[in-house]
């Protein structure tokens, strides 16, 4: 920290502080530059080519393309299937992320309190995250299977269902069913993030509150939660982006059906490119999705600028 002569003019004090702040910010740049350069090298060409392709007409009967202006964007934004897929994706993302956060927080609080077998229990709770998406999708396909699946077996034996139903063929239940699979798969990531956050909370602060007679609930909401605010925001952003861009689970389990009720936007883009051979349209849809996610990320990350309690 730079100590300035407080008798100096205020504008000089401000300028010196700003320079110090920038020096501090740029100090870490050499350490991240290698990774940044690799990312730029690997991602820049596909990224820029996708944007280029979004302005080109790509007829299926030829490999030649020609400039099409905003035609692809117009087609995509007027396509009811695309708009439906956006709606499904928003539902999917909100549903998955909210429950990821809630379940992840609950699991983190539970694991944090454990004194025995914390490691094995934490590892067991992480298993869904470690299992590959394809394996998880096929496993849950069998769990949901009407005649042989465990879920139908349990629900019928408990009297919840009169006879087995095919959840993945239901217009009402197909989307919640695949969202559940996604939550199962991704909540452990939230758990690990929150667990790390919980373990970074100063113990003295918590103990002091408890000594002053604060209940566990009050300690959580008024001490721990404010400390976890940044972690919650970062985890929410990461999980929102991750869930929004999911592809595998609906692709394998339902192919987006029945009747596009589980077709999320990544499935739409894939089908548009590789089934409909409309690469320009698929690229335009990708750019639209990128813009949506960028707006979201900017708004969310902006809230990181608020100070945490107790931090100077």
């Amino acid at each position: 920290m730079v100590v300035l002569d407080q008798s100096a003019p205020p504008d000089l004090v401000v300028a010196a502080s700003a320079r110090a702040m920038w020096r501090e910010r740029l100090a870490g740049l050499p350490y991240v530059m290698p990774a940044v350069l690799v990312i730029i090298a690997v991602m820049s060409y596909p990224f820029l080519y996708c944007i280029y392709l979004s302005f080109r007409a790509t007829p299926s009967y030829t490999t030649e393309t020609h400039f099409a202006g905003l035609a692809n964007y117009g087609t995509v934004l007027n396509d009811p299937v695309f708009l439906n897929s956006l709606l499904i994706t928003v539902t999917w993302t909100i549903g998955s992320t909210v429950f990821d956060i809630l379940l992840g927080m609950g699991a983190a609080l539970l694991v944090n309190q454990l004194t025995w077998f914390r490691g094995p229990i934490r590892a067991a709770l992480m298993l869904p995250y470690i299992v590959g998406y394809v394996i998880a999708s096929y496993a849950w396909l069998w769990l949901y299977q009407a005649e042989y699946g465990l879920i139908n077996e349990l629900l019928t034996s408990w009297g919840v269902l009169a006879h087995p139903i095919s959840l993945l063929s239901s217009l009402i239940w197909a989307l919640p069913a695949v969202i559940l699979v996604n939550i199962w798969k991704t909540a452990p990531f939230a758990m690990i993030m929150f667990l790390a956050g919980l373990q970074s909370i100063p113990e003295q602060t918590v103990m002091a509150a408890e000594l002053d007679g604060a209940s566990k609930t009050r300690v959580f909401f008024e001490i721990k939660l404010p400390y976890l605010r940044r972690v919650i925001i970062i985890t929410s952003v990461v999980m929102t982006l991750q869930n929004f861009n999911t592809f595998t689970i609906p692709y394998i389990m339902t192919s987006g059906g029945p009747l596009n009720h589980t077709e999320i936007v990544s499935n739409y883009i894939y089908n548009d490119a590789f089934t409909n051979l409309d690469f320009g349209g698929a690229a335009a849809a990708s750019v639209v999705v990128m813009i949506i996610l960028m707006v979201f990320a900017v708004l969310y990350v902006g809230s990181l600028n608020r100070r945490q309690p107790g931090v100077v």
Partner: protein
């Protein structure tokens, strides 16, 4: 060849000059199949892509042996590389690779993928002289997918590697339990619907396996034979020389087929409730478990049933006839050589080796399919293979009823997306058969007009 594990006798047999064949006086002439080019004439490099015949173990074994042992042993001067992809993985990879003018030099594509590559000028023309055998060796209908715009005549830009049709497989025990003569499979589609209801009502098992998953080609593979049998069509594929211009999807035949589906799923409820999310895996599982009486399936499935459930009393039949005709999808695969390949002779050599009767039979029937050439189908190898494949005689009987998938560049979209969506509209109760067929027809009309 000895180093590659092939003795001279094995190599001769593999090339089709089997001792038994010679002893029987059946010498394969150049009109039957093409002789392999001399080893010295083939050099350079060649990259081949194919799709896996999994889960058929004999098919996978044959494929691995052909690509890793046999063909490399023929041409030591050739730098040969082959990659086998999953069935659903190859199409997107090939689509991108060939649009970029990139590898492979030769690929084997499912028949419904061919129009997009042939139509976009990405495939090299192949002549009879280059192939070394007359095109009359192949089923005429199978060659349409190798011509631009699915034309009945003209230059070929691919060669069929195998043909495949489906047939009706049924459980004789369930037939008996339902009071139906197990030796009298349904003759018409209306009979099939009635049988399905009877079997479900009397035994509790599902009468028929319905596949109606969205964005899945298997859905159309099972629906279109019903539609064609009722006189419906997507374009004019039922005519002797289809033009692929006039959209026929909204016609009465398609509506009638949709009505049959509606009857089974919504009214009789005699089919499995997971039809809207089933691409055939539930059907096969239920059939194996004897909870489903009738399925339409590939020739490879009864082989699996024989292995997994040998005591299941299976019956096989041709697909039922409709008011207009009997029909089945003419499936299979084509070899295509990339138009910009630098080693067409090597690619042709691969094709010739694959099409030799021994390999054509082994690779075809091993995958639950059929050889693509007449010489192969008439060979002693085929006679031996047919004895081991249940109901292969029925499959051969179905071949003449084969009808082509839409041979337009938008064919995959029509087959995999529009037709399944049309069926789902009806099965979910969102549309009547007429409404769904009309909407699908409008969609196809707009698509091909664009």
């Amino acid at each position: 060849m000895a180093e590659a594990g092939y003795t001279r006798r094995q190599a001769l047999k593999a090339a089709g000059f089997g001792a038994a064949g010679l002893a029987a006086g059946r010498v394969f002439t150049s009109r039957g199949f093409a002789a392999n080019p001399a080893a010295a004439s083939i050099s350079g490099s060649l990259e081949a892509w194919d799709w896996s015949d999994a889960p058929s173990v004999p098919g996978e074994q044959a494929q691995a042996e052909f690509y890793t042992k046999y063909f490399p042993s023929l041409y030591k001067n050739l730098q040969f590389r082959s990659t086998i992809f999953g069935y659903t993985d190859l199409l997107p990879k090939l689509t991108v690779a060939w649009r970029a003018g990139n590898l492979p030099d030769i690929a084997r594509c499912a028949i419904q993928w061919s129009p997009q590559f042939v139509g976009a000028g990405q495939c090299a023309e192949i002549t009879e002289e280059e192939l070394g055998m007359p095109f009359s060796q192949f089923i005429p209908g199978a060659l349409l997918s190798d011509r631009r715009n699915g034309a009945s005549e003209g230059a070929l830009y691919g060669i069929p590697s195998n043909n495949e049709v489906m047939f009706l497989l049924y459980n004789k025990s369930l037939f008996s339990k339902a009071g139906i003569d197990p030796n009298k499979p349904p003759a018409t589609w209306a009979d099939l619907v009635a049988y399905s209801k009877t079997i479900h009502d009397k035994t509790g098992a599902y009468g028929f396996g319905l596949c109606a998953q969205q964005t899945n080609g298997n859905t159309s593979y099972r629906f279109m034979p019903v539609a064609w049998a009722c006189g419906g069509q997507i374009f004019d594929e039922l005519s002797p020389k289809p033009t692929w211009r006039k959209v026929g999807l909204g016609g009465d035949g398609v509506v009638q087929a949709l009505s049959l589906y509606h009857q089974m799923f919504n009214v009789d409820k005699s089919v499995q409730p997971s039809a809207l999310s089933d691409n055939e895996s539930d059907c096969e599982t239920l059939f194996l478990d004897e909870k489903m009486a009738m399925v339409i399936d590939h020739p490879s499935f009864p082989q699996q049933v024989k292995q997994l459930k040998p005591d299941l009393d299976m019956g096989g039949a041709m697909l039922p006839i409709g008011p207009v005709r009997r029909a089945v999808v003419l499936g299979g695969s084509n070899f295509h050589i990339r138009a910009t390949t630098k080693n067409k002779p090597a690619a042709l050599a691969l094709m010739k080796a694959y099409l030799a009767p021994y390999w054509n039979v082994r690779l075809g029937t091993g995958a639950g399919s059929e050889a693509s050439t007449e010489a192969a189908r008439a060979s002693p190898e085929q006679a031996t293979a047919s004895k081991e494949m249940p109901f292969n005689d029925i499959v051969f009987q179905m071949l003449p009823y084969g009808v082509n998938v839409p041979l337009v560049t938008q064919g995959a979209q029509i087959w995999n997306t529009i037709i399944p969506a049309m069926i789902q509209q009806v099965l979910s109760g969102r549309s009547t058969p007429k409404e769904a067929a009309t909407a699908a027809a409008s969609q196809v009309t707009r698509m091909i007009a664009a």
